[in-house]
Symmetry: C2
Subunit: 299 residues, 2 copies
């Protein structure tokens, strides 16, 4: 505003005028195009460095010769409890997986809780116990934390930010920009389960019991893959943006084209039924749901 | 609820019945007694480990012979902008200081943003630019992040969780439980400036311009102290709980008594005036304000 100063500092000021919108929209948190816009126009120029620039879900750096992975995620899922999991389980597994997707062994977790005045202590206890179980199952320790409380109506029961630290023991370099012509794309499971489980509970759909979130820690799966080969170029745990956004990100970062035969993508029958139902109700095409642009707050 | 299972897991389930309240109160986030209650009855039993048990503001652990400090804090301050700073500056300096208080050199920061639908991009830009400046001034790099958006009315413009990672290069062990008889207590500055700056803006008090937040990175101060002596036992950056809560925590953790001559505590005249004003308006004694029990959301 004062027209000068600090010009020798790295990065740059970030005028709001570079954006197409004047205010934050739900879509800025969807993991899709608007989120990417925010990252590229606001965060990357401000905090210019080689780690952020990779656009991976974690930073990997060396400390005294040890390679460390570092990742953070805020969890704002609603409802808090859903078929197959809850916000606590997601908060641990999501961060464990963002570490695992760099090839790191997840070790330590930091957790920051933003609680809304009026949250039932019974609900908080259940969530914390769920985090305890997920952390034990994944072999990580929650070693530091913080708790804040906001006035009623200024939050939504509970938000949890988990930050993870892991160690890279092999020499593998996994990154979004390493996809190469000839690489094969492997999906480790069916897609759409988690988002559909959340939606079914949110909209009180009748057959909700049939679809469960597939939230799980995947670091042992990654370790098993590395036992077979070290020729693994990119790894991702697709969340908000879904498969389509993830593939687009890898393609853009690596400068390659990806060819996907939609018929080979595994989708559970119950999830397909749900997607069809959504299509009839809301007029969405299946591809939109997979793109995840219309799925706010599923993690 | 099912009366069994998982009895071989570490930690324990956390029944809500152990609490005096059924719901979260604003006081659970004050940094005072209710916060301690939550930590001791809920988080410590669930995530039982040597790092959490120290009750420090950061975890310190070894990785391949390198000592690392790890800390997280959620920032929910309101208003977002106040005399002497804003939520972005606080979010960087608060985490830098929690690292510095272990004797660590702060290196890397992870930041998770929870934005409320409708937040002005101009405000977000100013906050991000403030973080950029604070990170540069403190010599830390923001290397990874996350952005989520919650529906209008389910947040309060912006919450920022920062997590920091630093390295301990000396052999010092700083911890809340290391205060010993004969130790001297040193304050690095006047107390109450930050909380009073926030309150003055929140309540639109006339002389608000006279009181500024003293938010600043303190790692160079700590480094200068270690150049003089390695006989430093405890370090704290008192925030929500203020001086009184901090001293009580150190006394309890170390099993020592602390004697403080209130007349020797440095307080700016303008802050004293403000405290007196609050006393006349709200009937609070000065000690209550210093205890911080009635200062929600100052960080």
């Amino acid at each position: 505003m004062n027209g000068g100063g600090n010009s020798d500092w790295p990065g740059m000021a970030c005028p709001a005028s570079v954006f197409d919108h004047k205010r934050i929209l739900l879509g800025h948190g969807s993991g899709g195009k608007l989120t990417a816009d925010l990252v590229r126009k606001l965060f990357l120029p401000a905090f210019k460095n080689e780690y952020l620039a990779r656009l991976d879900d974690q930073a990997v750096f060396q400390l005294n010769g040890t390679r460390i992975a570092f990742t953070t995620d805020a969890f704002v899922v609603t409802p808090l409890f859903f078929p197959g999991g809850d916000i606590g389980k997601l908060a641990i597994n999501g961060t464990v997986n963002d570490l695992a997707m760099s090839g790191a062994r997840p070790l330590y977790i930091a957790a920051a809780f933003i609680l809304e005045e009026g949250l039932e202590l019974d609900e908080l206890s259940r969530i914390v116990d769920s985090m305890r179980q997920a952390a034990f199952a994944a072999g990580v320790q929650l070693v530091t934390g913080d708790t804040k409380v906001v006035d009623r109506g200024k939050g939504d029961k509970i938000f949890i930010t988990t930050t993870g630290l892991g160690i890279l023991e092999g020499s593998a370099t996994i990154s979004a920009d390493r996809a190469r012509p000839g690489d094969k794309i492997i999906l480790s499971g069916t897609i759409g389960d988690h988002g559909t489980a959340i939606l079914s509970r949110r909209e009180n759909l009748e057959f909700e019991g049939a679809i469960e979130s597939d939230s799980a820690a995947l670091h042992t799966l990654v370790a098993a893959m590395f036992e077979v080969t070290d020729q693994i170029h990119c790894l991702r745990d697709p969340t908000r943006g879904g498969l389509a956004t993830t593939l687009n990100e890898l393609a853009a970062a690596s400068g390659v084209g990806l060819e996907v035969d939609e018929r080979t993508i595994p989708v559970k029958e119950s999830v397909k039924r749900m997607v069809l139902l959504k299509t009839e109700i809301g007029g969405k095409r299946m591809l939109d749901v997979l793109l995840g642009e219309q799925l706010p707050r599923i993690c």
